[in-house]
Amino acid sequence: MAHTNIERLLNAAGEIILGKEHELRLALSCLLARGHLLIEDVPGTGKTTLSHALARLLGLQFQRIQFTSDLLPADIVGVSVFDRESAAFRFLPGPVFAQLILADEINRATPKTQSALLEAMEERQVTADGHTLPLPEPFFVIATQNPSYQIGTFPLPESQLDRFLMCIRLGYPSRDAERKLLQGEDRRELIAEVDAVISPDDLYDLQYAARELIVADRLIDYVQALLAATRQSAEFVTGLSPRAGMGLLAAARAWAMIAGRDHVLPEDVQRIFPHVAGHRLHLTSDGRMPGRDELTRLLQSVPLP
C-alpha cells in the first residue's frame, strides 16, 4: 500500500517536473526522512516548481517566502497587533505557520532573518512575544539557494547548513526533457490543476514506515566506515558529525523505501551520501564544498564490510 502511494506520487510529480526523476526521488526521500531540503542552483531550473508541485501532490498547506535583503524576522514568524475590541495583543501568525514552506533564495536575506527560519526548522515551534506556538505537522522547509558566487548573497554558515538533511542540485534538463518543456503548457498552470495524491495522514504513515525499515548490523558497519573515512581523510577539513550520520541512515531508509524494499542496502547509502555529506564537508585544498569527483573517490575508497 505504502509503495503504491509512492509510485503514484512520483508519477504525478514526473508529469510536472520533466526528466528529473532522480532528483524527485531524492527530494521525496528527504521529506519522508522528515528532513529539510536545500536546493542549490542557478535561477530558472525549476526549484520553485519542484517544491510547489510537491506541496500540491502531498496535499500540504503551502507558503512561499521570498527572501530579500530587507526581510525581517517578524515577516516570517508573525507579529502581535493590538486588538481594540478585546483590548489585548493578538498574534498574527506569519507565513512560517504552514506545512510546506518554500524559502526562496534564502541566502539573499540577512543572517538574522535566516536564523529566524532556521530556528523554527530545528525546534518545530516558534516563540514570539513570550508565547511558544507549535508549528503544524508535518513541517517541511524547502529552501533554495543561489550559488554563492552570485552577488548580493549571504552564504549560510556551516551550523545552519547542517539543519538541512539534504542538498540537491537540479541542473539543466536533458535535451528531450527541455523540448517537452518548451512544447508543453506552463508548469504553473499544471500545478494549479493537479489534485493531492495522498493525504497528510498517508504522508504521516509513510514517514513512520520509513523509520521501521530493517537496517542490518553490516550496514551500520558500513555507515560507520564512511563516517570514519570522512574524519580520517586528509582531503576534508572536518569529518561528518554524528548528527550527519543519523541523517545519512534516515535518508538511506527513505530511499530504500522508495525503491520498494523493506531493508537498506549499501547502494541506498551510496546514492544519498553525496547529498547528505556534500554540503557538510569542506575540501582542505580550497575550502570549497566537495564535488562529485571527490565524493565518488571517497565512496570508492571505503570497501563494504
Partner: protein, 660 residues
Amino acid sequence: MKLALPITLAEPPSVALRRDQGFWLLVAVVLTLLPHLPDLPLWAGGLCALLVFWRGLRLWRGQDAPPRWLLLPLVFATAIGVRLTFGQLFGKTPGLVFLAVLLALKLLETRNMRDIRVVVLLCFFLQFGLFFNHQSLPFALLALLATLFSFGGQIALVDPASNGRERLRTGALLLAQGLPFMLVFFLLFPRAAMPLWGVPDDATAMTGLSDSMSPGTISEMILSDELAFTVEFTGARPPPRDRYWRGPVLSHFDGDSWRTAFRPTLDAPEYAPSGRRFDYRMTLEPNNQRWLPLLDYPAGGAPGVRFGHDFQAVTRHPVVSRTQYLFSAFPDTPVGVDELHWVLKQARQLPTYGNPKARALAAELQTDSAERTVGRIVDWLAAGDFAYTLKPPLMAEDGIDFFLFKSRKGFCEHFSAAFVFLARAAGVPARVVTGYQGGRVNPVSGLMTVRQSDAHAWAEVWFEGRGWTRVDPTALAAPQRIENGLEGAVSEGLPFMLRPQYAWLRGLRDQWEAVATRWDNAVVAYDGRRQRDLFESFGIDDFSPSPVLGALAIATALLMAVFYLWAQRRRDGGDELDRAWARFSARLGRMGLARAPAEGPLDYARRLAAARPREAEALTFICTRYARLRYRPPWSRDELSDLERALDALELKKEATLPP
C-alpha cells in the same frame, strides 16, 4: 552541477597514482638506491638520479608516466652500458647495477597497481642485494630505513586514507613482527664456508702499505683517515713506545726504492720468547694485501698465515673481507741472535754506486764495533737539526744525500731509509721495517684502533750476540711521534680528523666505532664456526646444514600456511554467506568482472547483467538473493543453500562478453 546524476561504483578504484602515494614510492626508491650509489658506475648512477628526478618532477606537476616507447630504448641502452662496463650482463655487480637502473625505469613507467607492487618488490630485492657489497652498520641501517619506507609506500597504496605517521608506524610494526623470523634465520641459516659476498673484486683499490717503499709512499698514506685494524688486548695494553705493528720488512735497496726480499717459509716465528707478553685479537679491515701487521715481535700462528725469517707474516690469500686473528707479542725478547747467513747478507746489500756523500759519511763514522758505529750514526742524526714534516721537498737523484745534507726535512721513510743506508755503508746489517706505529684506545669500547695515518717506517740493526734491535730514527727528530702519534709531531697538513680543534669529532667517532665494532663482532663475524660453537653450547655437537635447512623450510611453510588461513578467516569474517559471495566474485574475477570493493550487490548485478546478458537472470538472482540475506538478517540455512545451489548451477562460458 552534475552531482545529481547517480554515482556508480562499478569501475574499480582509481589506479592513478595519487601525489602523496607517488612521493612515498619515490622516497622508498631513493632510499633504496642511495646506498648503492658508490657501487654504481658513474653513468648508471647519473641515469638513476636523472630518471628518479624526472619522475618526481612529473609527479609534482601532476603528470602521468611518460610514454612507454621511450623506456624500451633506455632498457637496451642500459643493457649495452652494463655489458660495456663489465664485459657481461650477469654476475653479482653487473646484475645489481642493471637492477638498480631497472628500478628507476620501473618507477618512471609506474601506472597501475601491478607496476607499483613490482617497484616495491624490486626495492626489497635491492635492499637485500646491498649486503653483497657492504655489511657495515651504516649500510645495514640505510637498508633498514629503505625497507621501512618501502613498507610505508605499500601501505600508502593499500590504505590511501592513512597519514604519514600511521604509515611509518605500521611499517615499523611489520618490521618488528619480522624480527623473530630474522633472528631465527640469522642464527640457524647454514653459513657457506666463504661468505657469499667475499668475492675478490671488492677490495681492489684500497690504501695500505705495499711491499715496496719509495719516498712519498707513506706520507701519502697517512693522509688517509681510514681504519686499518682494531685490536682487542686480552690482558694489559702495551705502552705507546712498544706499539710497533710490523708490516713488510724491506731489505733490498736499488738506489731509489726499498723492496722486500721475502720468502715465507715458517708456520710460526722461530725464537725463544721471553719478557712481557701481550695477547690480542686483531680485526683487520680488508686491504687486498697479503701481509698482516703484527705487534712486535709476533708469536703464535694462525691457519693460512706463514712467516718469513724477518718475522713478517703473510696470508695465503689477500685479505678482502674483515678478518680476525689471534696473536701474541713479546716486545722484549731478543730475536735473530743466531741469524741465518743469507738474511745478514741481504741486510748488508747496497747498490754499487750512488749517494757518494752518504757513503763517505758512513766511512767516517765507522768503527770496529757495530754498536758504537750505530751510536755514532744516531748521534750524528740527532745533532743534525733534522726536521720532521709531512711535506718533504721533492727528491732528486741520490735521494739519501739530498736528505742528509741538503733538505734535512723528511718523513719517517726518509729517516729510516737514510739510517739503514748509513748503517749498511758502515758495514752494519740493517733493514727498513714498515708498518704502523701507535694506535688510539677508544675510551668507549676499550679497543685500540689503528688507522692508515699511523703508518710508519723504522729500522732494525743486527748486533752480534744481541740479534735484531729496533732503532727508530724518526724519534731522533720528532720524539713526540712515537709517544703521541702523528698529531703530536706535526702541526700542519694533518688529516682532518687528527687536527686538535676536532677533538669532539674524534669523541663522536669513538662512540660510533664502538657500536660499529660490536656490530662487526656480533653480526658480520658470525660465521659457520661460531654457529657450530653456538650449537655446541646447546649440546648439539653434530651441526650439519642440510637438516637444519630442511627444518627451517618446513617450519616457514607451516607458519606461512597458518598465517594465511588466519588472515583469510579474518577477512571473511567467518561467515558462510560471505564466503559464498567471495567465491562468486572470485569466479567472475577470472573473467575480469570482479566486484569492486565498494560496489554494492545490486550495482554489481546490474553491471554483470549488462556484461553477460546470457546469464543475466542467474547472475541477478544470486546478487539480489545475497543482498536480501546479507542486509535483511537473519537468514536461514535453507536460504543459504538456495544461494549456494544457484552458485553451483551457474555456468559461465568463456566467450565474448561484450554487451550487444
